[in-house]
């Protein structure tokens, strides 16, 4: 092979540059931001169970509408199901996994418990680079005057 040295050096440089995104990011994954469950409604639910919020969550005394694994990975599907059920079938109530009936409503149900949209939904969505367009029409807790985010509360 002619110019063996140059070719190999060139290949080595190419390889380094090509894989730059991989090795430059090793060990640098941004940590998932904390999502806050500290809202007045959830605090009240914990109080009713005779526990403080942290304990109540740990002991499963207060829950989401579905179990945690399902809601984290499938909440967008659940919302679509709610949407179709309400708008097209005229059903409004949902029997959740923990023996409770919930109104099937984004603003009146999800955002009632999770009234801290900025400290909860948005934190995860920003991290995941998801930007739901629902808020073009559906009202945020801020618009409804029920927001309980740390910075809004002050």
């Amino acid at each position: 092979m002619y110019d063996k040295g140059k070719v190999i050096t060139g290949l080595a440089i190419f390889f380094l540059v090509f894989t730059f995104p991989f090795w430059s990011n090793i060990g640098k994954t941004a940590p998932m931001p904390e999502r806050s469950l500290d809202t007045p409604v959830l605090q009240e639910m914990a109080r009713e169970a005779g526990l403080d919020l942290e304990q109540a969550l740990k002991e499963g005394a207060i829950n989401c509408v579905e179990d945690k694994d399902y809601i984290v990975s499938q909440h967008m599907h659940l919302l679509n199901l709610w949407r179709d059920s309400v708008v097209r079938s005229g059903n409004r109530m949902y029997a959740g996994a923990f023996g409770k009936r919930h109104e099937m409503s984004l603003s009146k149900s999800c955002m009632n418990c999770h009234s801290n949209k900025k400290d909860f939904c948005d934190r995860c969505h920003n991290y995941m680079n998801v930007n739901p367009y629902c808020w073009d029409c559906h009202l945020t807790p801020e618009q409804m005057g029920t927001a309980s985010d740390a910075e809004v509360k002050q």
Binding site: Q74, L81, V87, M93, C137, L139, Q143
Partner: protein, 277 residues
């Protein structure tokens, strides 16, 4: 091949254990969880009917009733008011206006029930017009995405999530019951206010630029056992709603007692808003 009883039991046992262990992992791969849905239902207090209809008493309508009813409806559904926007030309405002229920002149509401010698008592009164929730809705036939559809109880509704803003339905509707959102209905500066100054009602979503909207017969209020906002705003039974399949419903009773007309029935759409004269 022959297996001893002991070997068979061993294999069966291992298979059962593996199956049990794999179930949670397997379940999480089922898309949207096929074992769903578990129990969506109506509220216990919901109003239901075989065929909803509205009856409007023309003899009782005046400017004041019309204004009260329109305000009640538009406030409950977060309808913006472009006519109140400062700096928007009259033509532009009229074209952008969103209307769920509004007053019309007798001659435009009932063009074929008109003659020049009619009593001024009839022709000079305002007529409240709205979506007719037709039996044979032309808007539903032309909608390419099924965003507008007819429910089993007769109501013609909009699924705003599916509306692509093509406006075929507006062309198809003989009553002009549909409005297009040329602008965002929300006030850009104040998220708690709608264009035109009305405060946002937290009970209902707004719409957004690029979708068509119209009266929904207050499906959201019927679902919690409340009369439509327009009917609730009437102090003197100017508007009555009810189930046409029930001979004892207030709507059927009024239709039995008085002479009634409908808007443009010759179009074949089967309008279900009745006017008693």
């Amino acid at each position: 091949m022959s297996a001893t009883r002991r070997e068979f039991l061993k294999i069966a046992g291992i298979a059962a254990a593996a199956g049990a262990a794999a179930t949670p992992a397997f379940a999480s791969f089922i898309p949207g969880n096929i074992l769903w849905p578990r129990g969506e239902s109506k509220r216990d207090e919901a109003y239901t009917a075989k065929r909803w209809a509205m009856v409007i008493d023309l003899a009782k309508l005046d400017q004041k009733v019309v204004e009260t009813v329109r305000e009640a409806c538009h406030a409950a559904h977060n309808v913006p008011d472009f006519l109140k926007v400062a700096g928007m030309g009259a033509g532009e405002a009229k074209r952008s206006e969103i209307k769920w229920i509004w007053p019309a002149k007798y001659e435009s509401a009932f063009p074929n029930d008109m003659n020049e010698h009619m009593s001024a008592n009839v022709t000079q009164r305002p007529v409240l017009v709205m979506c007719n929730h037709c039996d044979n809705p032309s808007c539903v036939r032309v909608c390419p995405t099924k965003a507008t559809f007819q429910r089993a109880d007769g109501l013609v509704l909009m699924d705003y999530h599916r509306c692509i803003g093509c406006r075929f339905c507006m062309a198809a509707c003989p009553y002009g019951s549909r409005s297009f959102n040329w602008y965002d209905p929300r006030d850009a500066k104040d998220p708690k206010t709608l264009v035109g100054g009305r405060a946002v009602d937290p009970g209902f979503p707004t719409r957004t630029k690029g979708v068509v909207e119209k009266c929904n017969f207050c499906a959201e209020r019927l679902a919690r056992g409340e009369a439509p906002a327009c009917v609730a705003a009437c102090k003197n039974n100017e508007m009555v709603f009810g189930d046409l399949s029930d001979p004892e419903s207030p709507a059927r009773r009024l239709l039995r007692e008085r002479y009634s007309v409908r808007r443009k029935p010759e179009m074949g759409t089967g309008p279900q808003v009745y006017y008693v004269i």
